[in-house]
Every structure is written in structure tokens, then in C-alpha cells.
């Protein structure tokens, strides 16, 4: 070890250089999004690109909210995205935990069959069933409604699977003790089991929220009117007209990313922990 101090640590220099290069590559586009959201369109495509806005051009944000047609529809779209994502996160957590609990802790005929069926749905990719799903939604008159945006994602097979795996190790003695104490089955679930699922709830909540926040394909099929559209659709409309206003498009991108950045800042360990498990079925 003595002489390693004198020797030039090439390996270490190499590793740091490589990691810093990757860092530049991953972070630059995000910095670009932030700075260019405060630039005039002329400045964004200037060569060479200057990373600091010459004037603080917050007009972009007003234009982003107002829309190219001045209809102020974007705030409504943000609300739609928030409403759909939060609702889906809540229903997924509730239904997945109660189903996972039923499979993990109750003995009944057909239990394995039910579990296998739910596992099997993880193999059906959303992209392969979107057309018939669209017809189901039409049949149930859910086109262009919140129900249409939410109902197909009420619960995910992956969520049930996670909850079941987690609750299998939950000690049954607690449940029996609560039964002896006279707590009803729903009471046991709600007061004993559910509060103990916190880590899975956090991971699952984030995953489901993200799934809908990010969902472009389904809202593209099921919504028609501007007022029912979600943020991804608004962005894709902006992309179509991008030559008119790059700065405003980046302002929209920043607004669309803020909730995710806030969540990531507060709960990064659940994001990173949650990615270590399989994301088999995303919306």
C-alpha cells in the first residue's frame, strides 16, 4: 500500500473520467430543458448554444399555460393527469393489497388457480390489447370520460403479485390474535395488515402514478375533446407545432416533470428500490 500513494492511480482516474462523462451525458439534456425554457426561440437554436438565458424570458411559461391557440386548456390537462394518476395509484394500492392479502393468507379451493390467472395477465402486454380494450371502453360508453382513462388501470397484476409476495411472510399469529379479540375480517385487513404494507405501498404507488403520468397511448385512443386530454397528449400536440415555439415547449416539459422531480427528491429510495424489481406491466 505504501508505494501506491506515489504511483499515479490510473484505474481510479479512468473510472472517474468515465463516470463524469456519463454524468455529463445524462444531465445535460435536463439542464438544457431548464435553461431553454427561459429562452426565446431564437436563442435556443443559436450556434453556438449559450447555456445561460440572456434575459429571463418567463413568457414561455405563460405561453405554455395559454397554449398556441390561447385557450388556456393546459391547466385543465395538468389537472386531468394529476387526477387520473393519483386515482390509479390509490385504487391500485387498495385493490392490490386486499387481493394479495386474500391470496397470501386465506386457504380456499381455487386459490392457486386465481393466483396463476393473475400472474398470467402479466404476460399480456397493454400494447397487444389496446384495440379490443378500446372497443370495451366504447361499449361501456367510457370514451372521453375520466372513467375511460382510469378504469382499465384500476389494479395491476404486478401490484397483486408484489403484495402477495410481501404478505406471505406476514406472521399469521397477529391475524389469529386479532380474530380472538373480535376484530372483523375487514377490520383486520384495514387496521393490522394494510398499515404494515408501507414499503410496498410506497413503491407500488410511485409505479402506478408514473405509469399514468407517462401514459400516451391509452389517452390517445380514449379521449377526443381537448378538455379531457392529459399532459403527454398536450406535449405531442406541441411537438407537432414545435417550429412555432421551442421555448414554450420546454416550459411545458418542465411543468410536466415537476411532480416527478418533487416525488423523486422526497422518495428517491423507493424509486431506486422499486426499479430493482420487475416492471412487467406498465400502463
Amino acid at each position: 500500500m505504501e508505494d501506491s500513494i506515489k504511483r499515479i492511480p490510473w484505474a481510479s482516474i479512468f473510472i472517474w473520467t468515465a463516470l463524469i462523462l456519463v454524468f455529463v451525458f445524462t444531465v445535460m439534456p435536463l439542464v438544457f430543458m431548464f435553461t431553454s425554457s427561459f429562452m426565446t426561440s431564437r436563442q435556443i437554436v443559436r450556434m453556438p448554444f449559450s447555456w445561460i438565458p440572456e434575459t429571463f424570458h418567463y413568457d414561455n411559461y405563460i405561453k405554455a399555460l395559454q397554449g398556441n391557440d390561447g385557450s388556456w386548456i393546459f391547466p385543465r390537462n395538468v389537472f386531468n393527469s394529476l387526477f387520473v394518476s393519483i386515482t390509479v395509484a390509490i385504487t391500485t394500492i387498495l385493490i392490490a393489497s386486499i387481493t394479495g392479502y386474500g391470496i397470501a393468507k386465506f386457504n380456499f379451493r381455487g386459490r392457486n388457480l386465481i393466483f396463476m390467472m393473475i400472474m398470467a395477465t402479466m404476460m399480456i402486454p397493454f400494447e397487444a390489447i389496446m384495440i379490443p380494450l378500446y372497443m370495451v371502453a366504447t361499449g361501456l360508453r367510457m370514451q372521453d370520460t375520466y372513467a375511460g382513462l382510469i378504469v382499465p388501470f384500476l389494479v395491476s397484476a404486478f401490484g397483486v403479485f408484489q403484495m402477495r409476495q410481501y404478505l406471505t411472510t406476514f406472521p399469521s399469529e397477529y391475524l389469529d390474535a386479532s380474530r380472538v379479540d373480535g376484530l372483523g375480517e375487514f377490520g383486520i385487513f384495514w387496521r393490522i395488515v394494510f398499515p404494515n404494507c408501507a414499503p410496498v405501498i410506497a413503491t407500488l404507488g410511485i409505479l402506478s402514478f408514473r405509469g399514468q403520468w407517462d401514459n400516451l397511448l391509452w389517452p390517445l385512443l380514449v379521449t377526443q375533446s381537448e378538455k379531457m386530454k392529459t399532459i403527454p397528449l398536450y406535449i405531442s400536440k406541441f411537438a407537432e407545432e414545435k417550429l412555432t415555439d421551442e421555448g414554450a415547449m420546454m416550459a411545458v416539459a418542465v411543468i410536466a416533470s415537476l411532480p416527478m422531480f418533487i416525488m423523486f427528491g422526497a422518495l428517491s429510495k423507493y424509486f431506486i428500490g422499486g426499479s430493482a424489481v420487475y416492471e412487467s406491466r406498465k400502463g
Binding site: I15, L19, V22, F23, F25, T26, M28, P29, L30, F32, M33, S36, V45, M47, T99, G102, I103, N107, F108, R111, I114, M117, I118, T121, M123, I124, P125, E127, A128, I129, M130, I131, P132, L133, V136, P152, L154, A157, V160, D214, L216, L217, L220, I231, I235, F238, A239, K242, M250, V252, A253, A256, S257, M260, F261, M263, F264, S268, I272, S275
Partner: protein, 303 residues
Amino acid sequence: MKRKYIGIERKEARWGFAFTVPAILFFSVFSFYPILNALYTSMFDKRVLSLLPPDFMGLGNYTYIFTSPDFWNSIRATFVFTLGTFIPIVIFSLMIATFMVNLKSKHARGFFQIAFYTPAVISSVVAAAIWLLIFDPRGLGNQWVNALLNTPGIDRKWLADRTMVQVSTIIVYFWKYIGYFVILFITGLSAIPPAIYEAATIDGSSKWQAFWRITLPLLKPTVVLVSIMAMLQCLKTFSTQYLFIQGGAPRAPINVITLNIYTTGIRNQRIGRASAMSIVLFLIMLIFTWLQFRFSKSEEVEY
């Protein structure tokens, strides 16, 4: 005594059903029924706008799509994207993860983890929108590449050239998911007990040897699983391609299967044909999922 025992069992079964049946009903309507319906509809010449009952055509839709250059092009586009994305992503994320595990400072490692993962946090539509501007003829993409290669003023036609637009979609995906896969590999690497490396060092092996002789063989199951996961994700790609086409890129080179299903089924109202495409996509993904299950069962390593 015996009767009471049966009573408890019945009660348990009843609650078990009560807790699980709602989810089963849900999955029946929103997963099983649609996939069976896709299979059924793929046998019919169903068009939404037509009021006539659809004609049965057996495997007609399948023969149609398998003789149509347009669908073969979609299969080509999907596989070019999948292979072009997952191979570099797996190689680079494994390299980066190995570097990060070798970092002495825990803080630096945590910092890089968060930084590399950040692009995965934003939505794929936002990612595509950012890169749409970077790939502008006067945008950062050209400026960076020209600065690196010292070739001022050359336009790489990121969004206009047939080959480049495929490379561009791959870059967006690579950028967005590299951190995600780095973390998967760090998890895999951390599971290898340090004692093995200590033993190797005592036996006189270098770090380089240790990587090829110890890390890689022990990590093989993780590599296989992560590769299949990456492929499954790439096969479903939609947003990046959709947004690039909206932004003016040519359709044909990046017309992946999902995009083709959407255009055929929703824009052109050819439901039967789109269903046949869906079933093909489903079968391709089923093969990969089956591989994933096989490997995850057979390749469990004990240290």
C-alpha cells in the same frame, strides 16, 4: 368439535373469495377478454365504420400482414430498435455499474446513482420532446458531435435521414434508461460476497482478471434476465417514435409494430388487421417472457 372446524374453514374460504374475486372480475374484463377478443377479431374483416357484419376470413388477416411489406418493415424497425438499444444498454450499464461498485466514496456512488437515474424519472414524452430540440439541425446534437469530431458545420440529419432517425430514437431510449439498468446491475453486483474477491486477490489475481473470471460468470443470470427485460421493454416502444413522427421525422424507418397497430386500427379503422398484428406482437413477447421465466428458474446461483 369437528363441525366447528369445518365452519371456520368455510368462513376462511368465503373471505378468501370475497377478497380476491373483485380483482379476478377486473382482469377478466380488462385483460383476458381483450386478448381473446383480439384473437377472435383477427379472423374477421372488421372495419369500424362499416355497418355490415364483418366477414369471416380465417387466417386471411395473417396472410395479408405477412405478405405486406409495410408490416415486415414494422417488424424490421422493431427489431432494429430492440437490438440497437438493448445491446449497448446492457454493455454500458454493466461497465458503469462495475466502475461505481469500485468507487471508494459512498457519497460519490450515491450521487452518481441519483444523477444517472434522473432521466428515467421524467416521462418518455418529455424525453422525446427534449431530444427533438437537441436533434434540430441547428441544435446541440450537431454542435456536440461536430465539436467532438472537429468537423464544423456538418448537419448529421438526426431527424431526416433514414438511418440517423433510427439512431436518434435509440439514443433517446439509451439516455432515458441507462441509469435504471445501472441500478439493476449494482444490485446484482452487490450480491456477490466480497470474500470471493479477497480470496482471488490473495491468490494473486488482478482486478481485470477478477472481473472476467469471477464477476462476469457469477453475474451471468443477472445479465440474461436484465437483457430479456430490456428487450421486452424495447419491443413495446411507442412514445418516442410517435413524438418524432409528430415532430416531422419520416415514418417508415421508425414505424414500429405498436405504432403500426395504432395507425391500422385507430386511424385506418382496420380492426381485424390490427388485431392480427396485436396477436403477433403478443406471441413475440410471450416467447421472451417464457425465456425469462425459464432462466429465472434454472439459473439461480448460490454463493
